[in-house]
């Protein structure tokens, strides 16, 4: 897997998200897994079972932290309590890099607990990049930002989403967690060609890739992480690794979670595309 400064010069392989229904299986069966991704906020607590399980996982596996509420794009400053707890967890897990979303979700210290889409403006890009730099300086690990699925676009936007992503990561000098499922979902919701997105992002900054399933509704697609990865998303994945190299890859499955084996086998399909890419090159 290509190591770069945005993923701490690591080569991790194909991992899955660490989820509660799989705790017992992982601890008792000790399956071979390249790495686990944890939702940081689930472990930014003082004690108890979640941290006990995490410590056992850390004894055997590599863990990368993924956040859902840093809200780099929120106009307000980062929450200090959040940052302190995040840094404590970073020290505990020794995560080689840290990811969170290119979105906003809080106003005046009040939280939506959602990943709300950014207006693609230069003002928002500058503000977001500054906040990413501040967080990175505080937690002292590389940061990669993830493109989110979105269901709305704003009149004030001055560029495409992929142009905005590029603007932010160049200004912040940070990495990208490229979620190819989110690209697919947004492409359907906003009528753009998802390959244009994948072909446009600065490939050298891709630190990690997310794959996942989603749910189709009559007029839009919702990013639900409750299905296997569909073929068009695998095609985007193939193109992404063709451009960025065989990057650390993570399958997200967060609802209607099947057995550990089913989730892991779905993730390991990524190896087929990585092998095909290696042969082709």
């Amino acid at each position: 897997m290509p190591a770069n400064s945005f993923n701490g010069f690591t080569e991790l392989g194909v991992g899955i998200g660490l989820r509660v229904p799989h705790y017992q299986h992982i601890l008792s069966e000790k399956p071979v897994v390249d790495w686990f991704e944890i939702i940081s906020e689930n472990y930014m607590i003082d004690g108890g079972r979640p941290l006990h399980v995490l410590d056992q996982i850390l004894e055997r596996y590599r863990v990368v932290q993924h956040g859902v509420s840093m809200y780099f794009g929120s106009a307000e400053p980062a929450n200090r309590e959040h940052l302190k707890r995040l840094k404590a967890l970073v020290r505990r897990t020794q995560t080689p890099w840290l990811t969170d979303h290119l979105c906003w979700g809080s106003v005046d210290g009040r939280y939506t607990h959602d990943l709300l889409p950014m207006p693609y403006t230069f003002e928002a890009a500058r503000h977001t990049a500054q906040k990413i730099r501040e967080v990175r300086d505080f937690v002292e690990v590389p940061i990669a930002v993830e493109n989110v699925s979105s269901y709305a676009e704003f009149h004030v936007s001055e560029m495409t989403e992929w142009e905005f992503l590029t603007e932010v990561v160049e200004l912040a000098d940070c990495g990208i967690l490229l979620d190819v499922n989110n690209i697919y979902v947004s492409s359907k919701n906003h009528n753009f060609n998802p390959l244009d997105y994948v072909n446009s992002v600065p490939a050298e900054r891709v630190a990690q890739i997310h794959i996942a399933g989603h749910s189709k509704f009559e007029k839009y697609i919702l990013d639900t992480h409750d299905h296997p990865v569909i073929d068009p998303v695998w095609k985007l994945y193939a193109r992404a690794i063709e451009r960025a190299g065989p990057t650390a890859t993570l399958l997200e499955w967060d609802d209607n979670i099947p057995s550990f084996e089913e989730v892991h086998n779905e993730a390991l399909k990524a190896n087929r595309f990585i092998a095909e890419m290696a042969v082709a090159s």
């Binding site: 906020e41 003082d46 840093m70 106009a75 939280y111 607990h113 403006t121 676009e153 906003h190 007029k219």
Partner: protein, 297 residues
């Protein structure tokens, strides 16, 4: 419209409660048409209007936060009923939107809010408040900090009248109803569904819950603690409860004992053996922890 203005507008729209049919309100809080409000900052596409696109986020917000409270407070839901519980949660979240980065803390202010809004819990206000306190205590006990355990022997070795520190995760509750039994019954019921339900298939289980719910008021002194990372309830006698609270307030062993047994029916000859039994039991459960190191100047 700059970033701050846009986020304020969208935030206010997203947090506005849904209609009874789980749709976005047709009017904003200031009476404007939401069609107009949404169209001012959100583009429509060939399938969805600006209103409909904003509504996706509005619905996601409420489904997420209501789901979180539903998961955290099944006991309160059973006491006041499913529909009233949902309406109460909406009113609570309008008054007290989340101020934490984690949904874990969503119910942190529910007890204090309910104290000033008894209309949601009448006529079972005391029972409902007890349940909220218990359910929040469970959350705190589940992931509260655990300090290195200290045995009484260790503490007494350095000081004949030591201060015993209690584990931060240990929650001490004085309750007016046996809501610990009620919550266990609701959990055994499996669904935590409303006691107002009359579904035939659920009747035998609902009967058990109703029976507990009908219990008369009763003083319960409860420790909510954890063993091997699982949360348990342990009932205490009034003296033991006073003693533990006195220790938590920083009293020495003798000071706490003095407060615990003041006006107590426990005979003087049994004081020492009572204290020994408590310490033996509570030490086994790991309730005592090392004192905080003195601050260095």
């Amino acid at each position: 419209m700059n970033l701050l203005e846009l986020q304020h507008r969208m935030f206010e729209a997203v947090l506005q409660p849904l209609t009874a049919g789980d749709e976005m309100q047709p009017r904003s809080r200031d009476g404007r048409s939401m069609q107009e409000v949404a169209a001012e900052f959100i583009k429509p596409n060939d399938r969805l209007s600006s209103f409909e696109r904003l509504e996706i986020y509005n619905r996601q917000y409420w489904f997420r936060v209501l789901g979180a409270l539903d998961e955290d407070f099944p006991g309160l839901r059973a006491i006041i009923g499913q529909r009233r519980f949902e309406a109460m949660c909406k009113a609570y979240l309008v008054d007290r939107p989340s101020q934490s980065f984690t949904l874990r803390n969503l119910g942190a202010r529910l007890e204090s809010w309910l104290l000033s809004h008894p209309e949601w819990t009448q006529p079972r206000t005391a029972l409902a408040l007890d349940m909220v306190r218990l359910e929040w205590a469970e959350i705190e006990a589940f992931d509260g900090v655990a300090e290195p355990v200290l045995t009484p022997h260790d503490a007494l070795a350095s000081d004949p009248d030591p201060q015993f520190r209690l584990q931060p995760y240990l929650q001490l509750l004085r309750l007016h109803y046996p809501v610990d039994d009620l919550l266990v019954a609701i959990r055994q019921d499996g669904s935590g569904s409303s006691m107002a339900s009359n579904a035939v298939s659920e009747r035998h289980r609902q009967t058990r819950v109703r029976k507990v719910a009908r219990q008369k008021p009763q003083s319960v002194f409860l420790a909510v603690h954890r063993v091997d990372h699982s949360v348990y309830f342990k009932r205490l006698g009034p003296e033991a409860f006073k003693f533990l609270n006195a220790l938590r307030e920083g009293n020495s062993l003798s000071g706490a004992a003095g407060r615990a047994f003041q006006g107590s029916s426990v005979s003087e000859s049994k004081l020492l053996s009572t204290l020994q039994n408590w310490f033996e039991n509570w030490s086994t459960l790991g309730w005592f922890c090392e004192p905080k190191p003195a601050k260095q100047n």
